[in-house]
């Protein structure tokens, strides 16, 4: 799997607008810069897990791993 590309300020504005959040161009530029490293990290996990289809999401995991009940 390939990883994603950094977002431009215009793309940040568009994405947040889609989510219902309005921000100005200056803040969008700062956010795009601040997000590059973080989004690269996020993409690393996605790229790693993408091909591993045998691993599920253990929904019970987030509900206490209750071994006596599970």
């Amino acid at each position: 799997m390939t990883t994603g590309q950094p977002l431009s300020a215009e793309q940040v504005v568009a994405l947040l607008k889609f989510a219902g959040i309005q921000i100005g161009n200056e803040r969008a530029g700062q956010l795009a810069t601040a997000s590059q490293e973080l989004f690269a990290e996020v993409n690393r996990v996605s790229a790693f897990m993408g091909p591993r289809r045998e691993i599920g999401m253990d929904v019970k995991f987030s509900h206490a791993q209750d071994r006596t009940e599970g």
Binding site: I21, F39, M57, Q65, R67, T68
Partner: protein, 473 residues
């Protein structure tokens, strides 16, 4: 002899014993604690609210009850403080934010109610990183909490007020919350003990949310035994929190006395000893040698793909807060500190599949840790690979390289929350600059008992947890 007669140097379990024996009174202890807060908190900014009046009323009630023969147990009459994200009825509970600056809950969180029922005296609400969403407790609304070991250095976060207050003897124990690191990091920076319990061991009812699938409440105190005393009281099923487990709570305070003999400890191969500052390596290796000399066996275990742990944690621990804060972010964005607002906006841009991939990684990590624990009692790492940085610093120097603060913190801290395992941080030495070094003890799910037992045995062999910050000398 200090003005309080050394009263505040006692650990929680020690002061509790003196109260039980009626050698000292809850009123005397609470007065001494409030006086110490009055002296030191203007320097430390550990508290958001000091609850002097209600604390003295609770202390007087405890004194009367104990005098009449109604002793409730080892927290009766003992002054504790509570992170400001945990509700105490009729007390302001800000979560360290401007948005909740005037929030006064009408009822206790379950953990507060259980502490109250055990006779604890609440002396105040503690400073924290805004909404528990950060690691520095550089709070734009309530001030920056300082580290009592060096006021120019960070107390950590998000439970920085809890770490600072316990280390400075401004309470005998505190509650923190831990989503990615927030009990264990300030415990390590401030030279105290702090435990993150298994997810589901302690109720989150009445506790502000950061990330639903990671959040836990955890005790912070001077020693492992003190943490055990507090955890015993707050643990167990709560009908008002569906995530709590019905697993029985073991005898945490009794089990800790069983020593180290026969315990099997693991070091993560190519990981537990890698990338450490020299002082941290030295203290950690000395701690390992001591554990081994005292009857534990230590061997290396491989756990694969740990280099993605920080990435997974940052994905979950930004996406879930963004969902929780969605309405406030749209209605009151200007009321957030800039760091929090930026993180929440970033969380709004994650995709659903990115979040799910991170949760799947977590499932994989949980299996890896569970497998490793089959023939181990605990896994040992440093708490963090460095000592507390100066306030405002966002990188740490390790082996001549500048490493981003989050990467350095999460190297060891991210593992227990992702894997769902309990973990205790205990002090295991000091750097040449006089800053505490922490050791992390990770147990199998719901085995807080063994984790606390190892911490307690280590603290019977060492005096790191008894050292006193220079501020108090």
């Amino acid at each position: 002899m200090p003005p309080d007669g050394g009263l505040l140097d006692l650990e929680l379990t020690e002061v509790a014993e003196q109260i039980r024996l009626r050698e000292i009174s809850p009123v005397e202890v609470t007065r001494a604690t409030l006086d110490a807060i009055a002296v030191h908190d203007s320097t430390l900014s550990a508290f958001i609210t000091v609850t002097e009046e209600s604390a003295m009323q609770a202390a007087e009630a405890a004194e009367k009850a104990i005098g009449a023969g109604y002793y409730l147990g080892p927290l009766h009459g003992v002054p504790l403080a509570i992170k400001d994200i945990v509700s105490i009825r009729d007390q302001r509970s800000t979560s360290g934010s401007k948005i909740l600056a005037d929030h006064v809950p009408a009822e206790d969180a379950t953990v507060s109610a259980r502490l109250r029922a055990s006779g604890a005296v609440f002396v105040g609400k503690l400073n924290m990183h805004e909404f528990a969403f950060g690691v520095t407790t550089e709070n734009p609304h309530y001030g920056t909490t300082k580290n009592p070991w060096n006021l120019a250095h960070s107390a950590g976060g998000s439970s920085g007020g809890s770490g600072s207050a316990v280390a400075a003897r401004l309470c005998y124990g505190a509650l923190g919350t831990d989503t990615g690191c927030s009990v264990r990091l300030p415990a390590s920076y401030c030279g105290i003990s702090g435990i993150r319990p298994s997810i589901g061991r302690v109720s989150n009812f009445g506790v502000g949310t950061l990330a639903w699938t990671l959040d836990t409440v955890g005790p912070m105190a001077r020693s492992s035994a003190d943490c055990a005393a507090m955890l015993s009281v707050i643990s167990g099923y709560d009908a008002r929190d569906p995530q709590t487990s019905k697993n029985p709570v073991p005898d945490l305070t009794g089990d800790i006395e069983r020593g180290l003999a026969g315990l099997r400890l693991g070091l993560i191969a190519d990981y537990s000893l890698e990338g450490l500052q020299d002082d941290v390596r030295l203290s950690f290796e000395q701690a390992l040698a001591l554990l081994e000399e005292s009857g534990a066996t230590i061997r290396e275990v491989p756990i694969p793909d740990l280099d993605l742990a920080t990435s997974a944690l940052m994905t979950i621990d930004i996406a879930e807060p963004a969902a929780y804060h969605a309405q406030w972010l749209r209605d009151r964005p200007q009321d957030y500190g800039d760091d929090i607002r930026t993180l929440l906006e970033q969380g709004e841009m994650y995709t659903a599949t990115q979040y799910i991939q991170a949760q799947r990684y977590r499932s994989m990590l949980h299996r890896s840790f569970t497998e490793a624990m089959h023939d181990l009692d605990a896994i040992i790492t440093p708490s963090v690979p460095y000592t507390s940085p100066r306030i405002g610093e966002r990188t740490v120097s390790i082996g001549g390289k500048d490493i981003g603060l989050i990467d350095a913190i999460m190297r060891y801290q991210a593992l227990p929350p992702l894997a769902g395992m309990p973990a205790l941080s205990v002090p295991c030495g000091f750097s040449s600059e006089g800053l505490p070094v922490g050791m992390q003890i990770i147990g199998d799910a719901f085995d807080e008992s063994t984790v606390l037992r190892i911490g307690h045995a280590f603290q019977r062999l060492t005096d790191w947890h008894r050292r006193k910050p220079p501020l108090l000398s």
